[in-house]
């Protein structure tokens, strides 16, 4: 391996360019280390996001060599075998500046999919007991660890092609709530995911499941939503 790395970093907004930097190669270096080095030693005007830098918060997600990834958990050795790496902001969201993109629509779709818990009891009621091994709770638990990093949303071509499509993350969260027996908003949620741009706009490309850094499976969650909405439709509830 060369002692230096050639790094191309996106500068600007949606219309911009890749700017080349030469970065010293270090052992166990991550892509986030590289971006940070450039910002601190070469160009302080480079804009990027990060927080925990240990693979817990999802803030550092960017496009690395054309694929969306967490940069703090992407080792340079894995992606820059030939001494070059290309870094840009996440796809499917308008770049604000350089490597930071506007996630407003991503979160707006979360709300539109009714991805928020609607309580059915108050603080005056006893705490509801939820058995952890029931089928619905297991289904919800399998999908619950999402931290809305938007990697799946950035990898999804249906999101790219259909601006109404709610996207894998929002639908995955809706699925966890569909399976939550405490939630009182199921009718509205089912209607939201059964409408245009809902779960039926997913064509199972499976890019979301391939790229999720937490190993979640929005394809399976969305398949669950398709089954649930079909049942409701056949019963005349939708």
């Amino acid at each position: 391996m060369a002692a230096a790395l050639e790094v191309l970093i996106w500068r600007g907004k949606a219309d911009g360019r890749y700017q080349a930097f030469t970065v010293p190669l270090r052992e166990s270096q991550t892509v986030l280390d590289v971006v940070t080095w450039v910002q601190r030693h070469q160009d302080p005007t480079l804009a990027y996001r990060f927080a925990c830098r240990v693979g817990m918060c999802g803030s550092c997600a960017m496009t690395v060599n054309g694929r969306p990834r967490w940069t703090c958990r992407t080792h340079i050795a894995k992606v820059a075998a030939n001494g070059r790496v290309e870094i840009g902001p996440l796809a499917n969201m308008p770049p604000i500046k350089d490597l930071a993109c506007d996630m407003g629509e991503f979160f707006a779709k979360w709300q539109r999919a009714k991805g928020a818990f609607a309580p059915s009891t108050s603080r005056r009621d006893p705490i509801e007991r939820i058995a952890p091994a029931t089928a619905p709770r297991l289904a919800a638990d399998a999908a619950i660890e999402c931290i809305n990093c938007a990697v799946c949303y950035a990898a999804c071509d249906s999101v790219r092609w259909n601006r109404d499509y709610l996207g894998p993350a929002a639908l995955n969260r809706a699925w966890t709530l569909i399976n939550d027996q405490r939630d009182a908003g199921q009718d509205a949620r089912l209607a939201a995911v059964a409408a245009d741009g809902g779960c039926h706009a997913c064509h199972s490309h499976q890019s979301c499941q391939e790229h999720c850094p937490k190993g979640l499976n929005p394809v399976a969650s969305i398949a669950g939503l398709k089954r649930r909405t079909l049942q409701a439709y056949v019963r005349g509830e939708l």
Binding site: S158, W161, A194, D196, A201, L230, Y233
Partner: protein, 109 residues
């Protein structure tokens, strides 16, 4: 795509799985044996079985194809709203009309 179109799309797909397999078998047979028009029409003319088989096939394919092309038109050609509905219905009707005409052509004595 919404739940109504989805239900129709998946239902017609399920219906067509056995129909397509049989159709492929027929194609292979006809190709191997080298059937002429007379041979084919002798088998299909006046046959309730073939009439039913192909009429169902045509209607399922017309529905399935129209809904499928609808998704592609919306995703890749940016067609939306009323225009999308016109495209879907239009394609479905054309396929159904041409298809049933073809079925009639080979089945009516």
């Amino acid at each position: 795509m919404n739940v109504r179109l989805y239900a129709l799309q998946r239902a017609t797909a399920l219906v067509m799985v056995p129909l397509v397999l049989l159709h492929i078998a027929v194609i292979f047979y006809a190709a191997r044996v080298g059937l002429s028009a007379a041979d084919i029409l002798a088998r299909t003319r006046g046959s309730i079985g073939w009439a039913t088989f192909y009429a169902v096939f045509v209607l399922a394919a017309a529905t399935h194809g129209a809904i499928g092309v609808r998704s592609v038109a919306a995703d890749w050609a940016g067609v939306r709203g009323g225009k999308l509905d016109i495209l879907t219905w239009g394609l479905g009707m054309i396929l159904a009309a041409l298809g049933l005409r073809a079925v009639a052509a080979v089945v009516l004595p």
